[in-house]
C-alpha cells in the first residue's frame, strides 16, 4: 500500500507519466487507486508530433500496469517521511511473510 499511499499525496500535482510504449504524458494527477491506475486531467502529451492522435485528449485514465515511470515534483515528496514509510512497509511485509 506504500505506493498507493504515496501517490495519494500527489493528487492535484502535475506529474509526467511515461508509459511502457514510450508515450510521455504530463498532466494533473486527479486520483489513483490501489492498482495504481491513474486519472490525469489537463493532459499534455510530450512529443505530440509523434502521437498526433492524442492531440485532442484532455483527460485520461491510465491503467496502472502500463505505466513505466511517474515523474514527480520533487518539492512535494517528503523524503524523510517516505524513508520511514518504506521502513514501516518493510517491517509490515516481514511481519506478514513470517
Amino acid at each position: 500500500m506504500l505506493f498507493f499511499s504515496f501517490f495519494k499525496t500527489l493528487t492535484n500535482q502535475t506529474v509526467t507519466i511515461e508509459l511502457k510504449n514510450d508515450i510521455r504524458i504530463r498532466g494533473t494527477l486527479k486520483s489513483v487507486d490501489q492498482y495504481l491506475n491513474i486519472k490525469l486531467d489537463n493532459v499534455d502529451v510530450l512529443d505530440l508530433d509523434k502521437y498526433p492522435h492524442l492531440s485532442s485528449v484532455k483527460n485520461m485514465f491510465i491503467r496502472g500496469s502500463v505505466v513505466r515511470y511517474v515523474m514527480l515534483p520533487r518539492s512535494e515528496v517528503d523524503i524523510g517521511l517516505l524513508e520511514d514509510a518504506t521502513r514501516r512497509e518493510a517491517a509490515n511485509q516481514a511481519g506478514k511473510a513470517k
Binding site: 500500500m1 506504500l2 498507493f4 499511499s5 504515496f6 495519494k8 499525496t9 493528487t11 492535484n12 486520483s31 490501489q34 492498482y35 517528503d78 524523510g80 517521511l81 517516505l82 524513508e83 520511514d84 514509510a85 521502513r87 514501516r88 512497509e89 517491517a91 509490515n92 511473510a97
Partner: protein, 854 residues
C-alpha cells in the same frame, strides 16, 4: 322500427322543424346562444358578430335523455336472446383504444411538424374514417359490450379527444358520404340518417334564428330571468330535473373560451351546410374545411349515445343533434379522463392537439412556446411511460433483498476495513496520513469507513422510499430500512469475526479459487519461505558482528537505529495520560510505559555504538563516526537527540569532538593541492551535516555547563590536528560553537575564576596553534563564495582574545580583510554589503569597523 330505434324519416319527409319545436321544453335554444353572445360582446370580444358558433346551437336536449328507457337494448344488441353474436363491429371503444397510442404519438409528431395548421393526422383520420378496415386488421378479444349487460354500469368514458378533434374529410364529400352510407348499412344506418336529419334541423333553426335583432335578444333574455347569473346559459333547459349522466354533466359548462375560439370558417362551414336544403348537404363546397364534421362516422359516437340508442324515435332527432355537437371536442376534452396510465400520458397533450383553434388565436411566439412546452411534456410523458413499463415488477421486499446482497458483497469486498482503527490505518497508509497531517488538511477523505458508507447508503435509500409520501409505504420502507440496517450490522460483524478466507474450494472441483480485495490483492505468486533459509542466514550474523566497520554492517546499524527510533516515536504517541495518584492502574500503566521507553532508549544507545571503545591509531573509524558518515546517519541525529538525555548528548558531542579530524566532513573536506573547494559530494555532506548535526550539537552546547566546554576544547587541542580541523567548515563551526559559548558564559558572569583561568589557558594554546594558519583557514579563493563561517570564527576568537592576541590576529588576517573590501567594490551592492558585513562581524569583535578602512 329502425335498427337503432331512431326516427328514420328523412328530414325532407318530416314536418318543418319549427313545427316540431313545441315538443321540447326549450322552445328557443338560440335564445341562450344570443345571451352568450351578448355576454361575450360585453367582454369586448372582437369576433365577427355574425359568426355563431356551432356549439352555440347546443340546445341541451341531451340532458333529457332517459336512462330508464333502455328496454329495447336487448333488441338492439341482441343480448341473451340466443341470437347470433353481434360481432365486433360495435367495438369502437376497443378499436380506438388499441390504436390510441399510435394516434397520440402521431398527433404529437404532426403538431410538432406543422404547428400552424390545425392538427390533422392523416393516419389517425384513416383509422377513424375506416373502422371496418381496422376492425378487420385488429381483432379485439372482446366485443366491448359485455359491460352493458349490467344495467347500472356507467361506461368508462375514454375521452379520446384525438377521435374528435383531428378529423378532416380526407376525400371529397360524396365519397365520404358513400362510405358513411356503407357503414350505416353495416351497423348504424338509422343513426346516420338521424344525424343528418338532426343536422339539417339544427341548421334550419340556426338560419331561422340568425337574424335576431338586439331587441329580440334582449326580450328573450328578459323572458328567462331565472337563469343563474354564473351559468353560461347554453346547454341546459331550466326544467331539466337533474343531470342523469356524467357525460351530460360534463357538457353543461362549455367554457366561454370555447366560443371565442371557434374559428369563423367552422361557422361558415356550418352555414354552408345549413343554408341549402338537406339534399344539398351532400354537396357542400369541398373547399371549405370542416374540422368537426358531423359525418356519420360511427366510431365518433360516444358510448352514451349507443347506450341510449333506444330512446323513442321522436326524441331521437334533436338529441342526436345534441349528442354530437360541434362544440363536442371542447366539451369532451374537459371531461375528466379515466385514470388509465397510457391515457394519462396522452391526455397531457390534449389541449394542443385537439384544439388547434386555440392555437390559432395565440401569437406566434406564444404558439411556439406553447408547442415547445408541449413537446417537452410529451417527451417526458413518453419517457415516464417507457420507464413505467417496469413498474411494480419488484416488490419492496425484492428490492431489499437485492440491496442486502449488495451490501453484503460490499462488506466482504472491503474486508476488515471496518475494524481498522487509527493504528491500522497508520500502518497501512502511513505516508499519506502523516504527509497530510504535515502539509495541511487532507485533500480527500483518506478513509471512509464502511460504517459511514453503509449508513449513508441506508439513509439515502430510506429517503428515496419515504419520498413516495404514502404513509403506509413509508412505514413499510422504514421497517425495511431497520431490518436492513440490522442485516448490515450482522454482516459486518460476521466479516469481522470470520478469519478471511483467501481461497474458495468448490466442492467436487479440483482447483481453488483465490480472491483478493482492495487491501490485499490476489497474490500472483504464493511462495512460502522455506524454514531452512532462516537457518542459512545464521552463519552470516557473527560475521557482521565481527566487522563493525564494513559498509553493510554500518548501514544495518543505521537501519536498526531508525527502527528503534520509530518505535520510540510510536511510544511517544501512545504515552498514557499523566497518572492520577489515586488510580493504581493508571500508575501501573505509566510505569510500564516508562519502562518500555527506557528499554528502547537503551536499545537505541547500544545501536548507536557510541560507547564502543575508542581504538587509537587504527584505520577503521569508530562505529559512531562511521554512522555519521552516511547521510541517513546524519539525518538521524536530530531525531536521536530528542529521545536521549543530556548525559547521552554530551557523550555524543564528546565522541564527535574527539574524532573531529576523522569525521568524514572534516577529513574529506581537506583540500588537495590545486583544489579550490571540496568535491560536490563532500560539499553536499558538509551541508547536510551543518543542517542536521550542527543544530543538535549547538542546541546542547548552548546549555552545556562551562566545565564541559573547557573539557571539549581541551579534547580538540589534545586529540585532533587542530590546524587541519580549522581548515574545514565543520571544524571551524564546532570551534566557533565552543568559543562563543565560553564568551557568553563569561559575559553572564557564570564562570568561576578557576574555570576561567583554565579556559584562558586552553584558549591560548589554541590561539598559538592556529596563529600560523589563520590566513589558510579561508577558502582558498576570495571569490569562492561563502566565507562567513570563517569570519564568525575569527570574531569568536577575537572577542575572547587578549589585546595582544587581537593585534596578532589583525596582522594575520589583514590581507584578507583588505582583499575582501576591495573585492566587494566590484560586486553588486547587495552582495558587496553582505561580504562587508561578514568582515565587519570580525572587525567589530576586535573593536574596529570596515568603515575605518575607507
Amino acid at each position: 322500427m329502425s335498427f337503432f330505434g331512431f326516427d328514420t324519416t328523412l328530414p325532407r319527409d318530416r314536418a318543418a322543424p319549427s313545427e316540431r319545436r313545441g315538443i321540447f321544453e326549450t322552445p328557443d335554444p338560440f335564445a341562450e346562444v344570443a345571451r352568450a353572445r351578448l355576454v361575450q360582446g360585453f367582454r369586448g370580444g372582437d369576433e365577427d358578430d355574425d359568426a355563431i358558433d356551432f356549439e352555440d346551437t347546443y340546445d341541451g336536449l341531451g340532458d333529457q335523455l332517459d336512462d330508464d328507457q333502455d328496454a329495447f337494448n336487448d333488441d338492439t344488441f341482441g343480448d341473451d336472446l340466443g341470437a347470433p353474436p353481434v360481432g365486433k363491429d360495435f367495438d369502437f371503444f376497443g378499436k380506438t383504444a388499441q390504436v390510441a397510442d399510435a394516434i397520440g404519438e402521431e398527433q404529437i409528431r404532426y403538431s410538432l411538424q406543422k404547428p400552424r395548421a390545425p392538427a390533422v393526422a392523416p393516419v389517425t383520420a384513416d383509422i377513424i374514417a375506416d373502422p371496418a378496415v381496422s376492425a378487420a386488421a385488429v381483432q379485439p378479444k372482446r366485443t366491448g359490450y359485455e359491460k352493458y349487460s349490467d344495467p347500472g354500469y356507467i361506461p368508462d368514458l375514454q375521452a379520446k379527444s384525438s377521435v374528435w378533434g383531428v378529423q378532416k374529410k380526407p376525400e371529397p364529400t360524396p365519397m365520404m358520404i358513400a362510405q358513411a352510407q356503407a357503414q350505416a348499412q353495416a351497423q348504424a344506418h338509422a343513426q346516420a340518417q338521424a344525424q343528418a336529419q338532426a343536422q339539417a334541423q339544427a341548421q334550419a333553426q340556426a338560419r331561422a334564428k340568425k337574424m335576431l335583432s338586439l331587441e329580440e335578444v334582449e326580450a328573450q333574455l328578459r323572458r328567462y330571468p331565472s337563469s343563474l347569473p354564473g351559468q353560461i346559459p347554453v346547454s341546459l333547459p331550466q326544467s331539466m330535473p337533474e343531470p342523469s349522466h356524467p357525460l351530460q354533466r360534463a357538457q353543461m359548462p362549455p367554457l366561454p373560451e370555447g366560443f371565442a375560439q371557434l374559428p369563423p370558417e367552422l361557422l361558415h362551414a356550418q352555414f354552408a351546410k345549413g343554408v341549402p336544403p338537406p339534399a344539398q348537404l351532400l354537396h357542400q363546397p369541398p373547399m371549405v374545411p370542416d374540422p368537426y364534421p358531423l359525418a356519420p362516422h360511427a366510431p365518433n359516437m360516444p358510448m352514451h349515445l349507443l347506450q341510449n340508442a333506444n330512446l323513442p324515435p321522436q326524441h331521437m332527432g334533436p338529441p342526436q343533434r345534441q349528442m354530437i355537437p360541434p362544440g363536442g371536442p371542447q366539451a369532451q376534452q374537459q371531461q375528466p379522463p379515466p385514470p388509465s396510465q397510457s391515457m394519462r400520458a396522452n391526455n397531457a397533450q390534449l389541449p394542443v392537439i385537439t384544439n388547434p383553434q386555440q392555437l390559432m388565436h395565440l401569437s406566434e411566439e406564444q404558439r411556439v412556446a406553447y408547442l415547445m412546452e408541449d413537446a417537452k411534456r410529451a417527451k417526458r410523458n413518453h419517457k415516464i411511460f417507457l420507464l413505467s413499463k417496469g413498474n411494480g415488477l419488484m416488490t419492496p421486499q425484492d428490492k431489499n433483498f437485492i440491496t442486502r446482497i449488495q451490501l453484503q458483497q460490499l462488506v466482504a469486498a472491503a474486508g476488515n476495513v471496518v475494524d481498522t482503527d487509527s493504528e491500522a490505518v497508520l500502518a497501512e497508509d502511513f505516508y499519506y496520513q502523516v504527509y497530510s497531517q504535515i502539509r495541511g488538511a487532507p485533500r480527500q477523505h483518506p478513509h471512509q469507513p464502511l460504517g459511514h458508507f453503509a449508513q449513508t447508503y441506508l439513509l439515502q435509500t430510506g429517503n428515496r422510499l419515504g419520498g413516495h409520501g404514502n404513509r403506509r409505504q413509508f412505514q413499510n420502507a422504514d421497517n425495511h430500512m431497520q431490518r436492513m440496517q440490522q442485516q448490515v450490522q450482522r454482516a459486518v460483524e460476521a466479516a469481522k469475526a470470520k478469519p478471511k478466507n483467501k481461497q474458495l474450494i468448490i466442492e467436487g472441483s479440483l482447483g481453488k479459487i483465490s480472491f483478493g480485495n482492495a487491501k490485499a490483492p490476489k497474490p500472483m505468486l504464493n511462495l512460502k519461505r522455506p524454514e531452512s533459509s532462516e537457518g542459512g542466514k545464521l552463519p552470516k550474523k557473527p560475521q557482521t558482528d565481527l566487522s563493525l566497520s564494513d559498509r553493510k554492517s554500518i548501514l544495518t546499524n543505521i537501519e536498526g537505529v531508525y527502527s528503534t527510533l520509530m518505535e520510540m516515536e510510536d511510544m511517544e504517541r501512545t504515552m498514557p495520560p499523566p497518572p492520577d495518584e489515586n488510580d493504581p492502574e493508571a500508575i501501573q500503566k505509566h510505569m510500564e510505559w516508562r519502562q518500555n521507553v527506557r528499554s528502547l532508549n537503551q536499545k537505541l544507545w547500544r545501536e548507536l555504538k557510541v560507547m564502543e571503545p575508542i581504538v587509537p591509531n587504527t584505520n577503521t573509524p569508530h562505529p559512531f563516526i562511521a554512522f555519521l558518515s552516511y547521510p541517513k546517519g546524519k539525518k538521524a541525529i536530530p531525531r536521536i537527540f530528542r529521545h536521549i538525555d543530556q548525559e547521552q548528548r554530551v557523550t555524543i558531542l564528546t565522541m564527535i569532538v574527539v574524532h573531529l579530524d576523522t569525521l568524514d566532513v572534516v577529513r574529506r573536506a581537506q583540500l588537495m593541492p590545486g583544489e579550490t573547494q571540496p568535491s560536490p559530494v563532500v560539499r553536499e555532506a558538509i551541508d547536510l551535516f551543518s543542517q542536521t548535526v550542527m543544530p543538535s550539537l549547538l542546541g546542547y552546547v548552548n546549555e552545556a555547563p562551562f566545565n564541559i566546554i573547557i573539557g571539549l576544547l581541551g579534547l580538540v587541542i589534545a586529540q585532533t590536528h587542530v590546524q587541519l580541523v580549522a581548515k574545514t567548515r565543520i571544524g571551524l563551526g564546532i570551534l566557533t560553537m565552543l568559543l562563543s559559548r565560553a564568551e557568553i558564559v563569561k559575559e553572564a558572569d557564570q564562570a568561576s575564576e578557576r574555570d576561567w583561568q583554565q579556559w584562558v589557558e586552553k584558549f591560548n594554546v589554541l590561539f598559538d596553534t592556529l596563529e600560523p594558519t589563520f590566513a589558510d583557514i579561508f577558502p582558498s579563493s576570495i571569490n569562492a563564495g561563502d566565507d562567513m563561517y570563517v569570519w564568525q570564527f575569527l570574531a569568536a576568537v577575537g572577542i575572547g582574545a587578549s589585546p595582544d592576541q587581537q593585534q596578532r590576529l589583525v596582522i594575520a588576517v589583514k590581507d584578507r580583510v583588505m582583499e575582501t573590501v576591495t573585492y566587494s567594490k566590484t560586486l553588486p551592492a547587495d552582495m558587496a554589503s553582505q561580504r562587508l558585513g561578514n568582515v565587519n562581524l570580525f572587525m567589530r569583535a576586535i573593536g574596529l569597523d570596515v568603515e575605518l578602512l575607507g
